[in-house]
């Protein structure tokens, strides 16, 4: 008799979700659905607000990546003003965006995924958490706390506060960098770099332990999308929006923000509030693509800093179709950010007081695209003649990955879950494949974040015969 397994709620992710696994008569997994069950509707309630409020309003979508939304929103507002912001402002925004990536990657790797990686997918769920990591690997746990602290402190030094800083504004930033702040940020970098390096060394040595997961955690060909510099280096803030196929062939290069959305369609599935973007020339769902750390490192030729480039060379030896390697890519990006922030702080004009361009709205439409920790983030606004928002659409990194997450869950479930022999470790792997993407469901559905997971086993007639809740 065919059955259904539901994981509800999914744990150690940002947001609330559940998973349903449909079994066939033999107890094998036939289909999987990733349900994002929350909605908050930011796009709707900002209608009628003055456009200059958008950066601070949009930052409220999420307590994890407010800075990412600040960036994309401010860039969309720059477009409405039709200004080119001062170069120093651009560099300062870059620093803050990278600090955001550092703190978010640290949260994902050390807090949310390290318990699986260090203690094992089949370990006791009662200790499979950051406390368990603290007991078994105290140095790594402390490194996780410190790494996130470094990212948060840089954001606070620049923006005045760690969460929801209001320093990034339409036209640039509201305040210049002082020499004292420059020194305080620079002083944090050696520690962060050392943590990134020793974590990478440990992680590379541990990869042998995850062969089965690497082979089955969303390991399939898809397209990849990210921003990239004109000379094919890692880029989080600006540049060309590139889409490549699974072999790295460039399908689309777009350097005009107002064309960034041209190739992307948004499908809606009845089982989730999370939209399913796809690459339109290939149609739905064949236009499946991935964004985020794995996509970025699969697209670039170089990172652009010495230590990260050396790591990228080694990274190229792993099976880069596997979403398991999001973890690896995340660590390399942390290292890159530490190096790159140091380089930006040494720019000759970094202390310049020309950090903001002023203008009234000159265009009725603006699109801001940047790289958030989880991938490409797009804010699209339209305003009326009074500068009031008439339309807002956000395409969030987690949304871009929705099709790949669904397919990844199915792959993992087919490999690990057998309906007649359910184990917690099997179900944990189903969750763990989602964690590789580090989804932020608060952002993607613009909903209040609660972490949770539910798996449900249901017969063809809809009867729930088994359920796991955490």
């Amino acid at each position: 008799m065919a059955q259904q397994i539901m994981i509800d709620p999914v744990t150690r992710i940002e947001g609330h979700a559940k998973i349903t696994l449909y079994l066939d008569d033999s107890g094998s997994v036939e289909n999987a659905e990733f349900h994002v069950t929350q909605v908050r509707g930011f796009e709707k309630f900002v209608e009628g607000r003055p456009f200059h409020e958008m950066p601070s309003l949009m930052a409220r979508i999420c307590g994890i990546c407010p800075v990412s939304h600040l960036m994309a929103s401010a860039k969309a507002c720059d477009e409405l003003l039709a200004v080119s912001i001062p170069p120093t402002a651009k560099s300062l925004r870059r620093i803050m965006n990278m600090a955001q990536i550092v703190q978010s990657h640290a949260l994902s790797f050390f807090y949310l995924s390290a318990p699986d990686l260090l203690l094992g997918m089949d370990s006791d769920p009662a200790v499979r958490n950051i406390f368990g990591v603290a007991q078994s690997h105290p140095l790594l746990a402390k490194d996780g706390v410190r790494m996130r602290q470094i990212g948060q402190q840089i954001i606070e030094i620049l923006g005045g506060k760690r969460i929801h800083p209001g320093w990034v504004v339409a036209g640039g930033v509201s305040e210049r960098l002082t020499a004292e702040k420059q020194d305080r940020i620079a002083a944090l970098l050696p520690d962060g770099q050392a943590i990134a390096q020793r974590t990478l060394e440990w992680y590379k040595g541990a990869l042998e332990n995850y062969k089965e997961e690497i082979a089955t955690f969303a390991n399939f060909p898809t397209l990849f999308m990210s921003l990239v510099t004109p000379d094919n280096k890692l880029e989080f803030y600006d540049g060309i929006l590139r889409i490549v196929d699974s072999k790295g062939k460039i399908l689309s290069d777009c350097d005009q923000p107002d064309h960034h959305l041209d190739n992307i369609g948004e499908a809606v599935e009845p089982f989730s509030y999370l939209k399913s973007p796809y690459y339109m020339p290939l149609g739905y769902p064949d236009g499946i693509y991935r964004v985020g750390p794995l996509a970025r490192l699969n697209i670039v030729e170089q990172c652009g800093t010495p230590l990260a480039d050396a790591e990228l060379t080694q990274f190229r030896n792993v099976d880069r179709q596997s979403s398991f390697h999001y973890h690896y890519a995340r660590l390399i990006e942390i290292l890159y950010c530490m190096e790159q922030i140091g380089q930006l702080l040494e720019e000759p004009d970094i202390l310049s007081d020309r950090v903001r361009a002023y203008a009234a709205p000159n265009q009725s439409e603006g699109i801001g695209t940047s790289e958030a920790p989880r991938g490409t983030l797009m804010h699209h606004y339209q305003i009326d003649r009074n500068g009031l928002i008439t339309h807002a659409n956000l395409i969030i990194a987690t949304g871009h990955n929705n099709l790949a997450m669904n397919r990844g869950i199915l792959q993992v479930a087919k490999h690990f879950v057998k309906g007649n022999d359910l184990s917690e470790g099997m179900l944990n792997r189903v969750e763990a494949v989602i964690r590789t993407y580090d989804p932020c469901l608060s952002c993607s559905t613009h909903a209040i974040g609660k972490m949770a997971l539910q798996i449900q086993l249901v017969e063809p007639d809809g009867t729930v015969v088994n359920e796991l809740r955490r």
């Binding site: 307590g63 949260l107 706390v145 955490r470």
Partner: protein
């Protein structure tokens, strides 16, 4: 070192009372051995400064009781990892300090019962009236602690 952490959402009326009190204390407590944080929410990386403190004072809003009522009580480490991600609670932070750094400080919570948690940046009258009293209590506690360590 005494660490004071006021936290809450300053856009949701009385929920921001912890931040408001922390901001006021930043003006009155200028001793370098007192570190004051005003935060939207508790986050895991706070465990590092907590581990260095002799006393941590948390200040938060409460939803149970008469509006404006305030109370103080001791916090002890208690692990609840389900909430230890991007936001956490005082007891979990103390437990994390114990696990990671082998030590944890004495900790007190000062809470004020809110009246209105709707959108807005203004405290309700009941809560605003309680704020000076809570500030005086925390100042006296800090003074006593500093004296005992002098």
């Amino acid at each position: 070192m005494i660490l004071i952490i006021g936290y809450g959402n300053t856009l949701r009326g009385d929920d921001g009372v912890g931040c408001h009190i922390a901001d006021c204390l930043s003006e009155s407590l200028t001793n370098p051995d007192v570190e004051i944080l005003s935060r939207h929410q508790l986050t895991p990386e706070m465990v590092e400064p907590i581990s260095r403190a002799d006393l941590v004072i948390f200040v938060d809003a409460d939803s149970e009781g008469m509006p404006g009522e305030y109370k103080s009580y001791r916090i002890v480490p208690a692990g609840d990892m389900s909430s230890f991600t991007h936001q956490t609670n005082p007891a979990s932070l103390l437990a994390a300090s114990k696990e990671l750094y082998g030590t944890y400080p004495d900790a007190m919570m000062f809470s004020v019962v809110g009246n209105c948690f709707d959108y807005g940046e203004v405290l309700s009258t009941a809560v605003a009236n309680a704020v000076p009293q809570v500030i005086r209590k925390i100042e006296r506690l800090v003074e006593a602690e500093m004296t005992s360590h002098a």
